[in-house]
Symmetry: C2
């Protein structure tokens, strides 16, 4: 098990927000907060279409479902649009996963996988983090 000193979490990489209409949501963040689109991406296997936005120096990831029978589609049906996950950037995703498992945190992804925007990601079960769906990401 890693010592706490070796955990290298840089901070919030992005805040993930589930929306019904990607273009409308991009427009809202542009108008209200001067957001700028960084990139767009899709993960067809997860049924999600996404836009990465900068709001000042911070990143917001808007995710929209490509259909109702998708993770984000069901999230929207159940809870409506809103904050979906927070991603924490780490300098060493394998070590971070080991530490999380060592602390007894239930992982959705036990090993890193390829996420949106080419990131290496692993999701922690929200039950381990007081109801917050938490993603750890490694950004190359």
């Amino acid at each position: 098990m890693s010592s706490i000193a070796s955990v290298k979490v840089r901070g919030i990489h992005h805040l993930g927000i589930a929306v019904a209409d990607l273009d409308e949501a991009i427009s809202t963040y542009e108008r209200l907060f001067g957001a700028r689109v960084e990139d767009r991406d899709e993960l067809s296997e997860l049924g999600v279409s996404a836009a990465s936005l900068f709001v000042g120096a911070s990143r917001i990831e808007l995710v929209a479902p490509t259909g109702e029978d998708t993770h984000v589609g069901r999230f929207l049906a159940r809870r409506g649009p809103g904050m979906h996950h927070v991603a924490l950037e780490t300098t060493d995703i394998e070590e971070t996963i080991r530490r999380l498992r060592g602390e007894g945190a239930q992982m959705i992804d036990e090993t890193p996988r390829r996420g949106l925007f080419g990131l290496e990601v692993a999701f922690v079960h929200p039950g381990a983090v007081h109801g917050v769906l938490t993603e750890v990401v490694f950004n190359g």
Copy 2:
């Protein structure tokens, strides 16, 4: 109405997370992500007890209710613990509120008020931001 060039949103000031037990949640963020407590505060008129944590360079604000019949108490009863609000830091809160109102965004606070940790804050109605309770803050 302000021009978009004059909007000065610096980025995410903090992510607000509603929890039932403040000390337990602090311990979780310390153990899992190496968080460090920056400060603690209470707003008795809102029935909220809070801790500000650094996770890497980013700030997480844990908020716990001081009773069931409070905003956060009702949030927990309705949705369980989880992400509650996101705060965006601005260099000019009056101008930011004017811009938001000019864009037709419904404000919870039409003028800045004193929030936790001595911040000047104003909340935007989640209905204006795709279900995300959004706070704009000015940090002195």
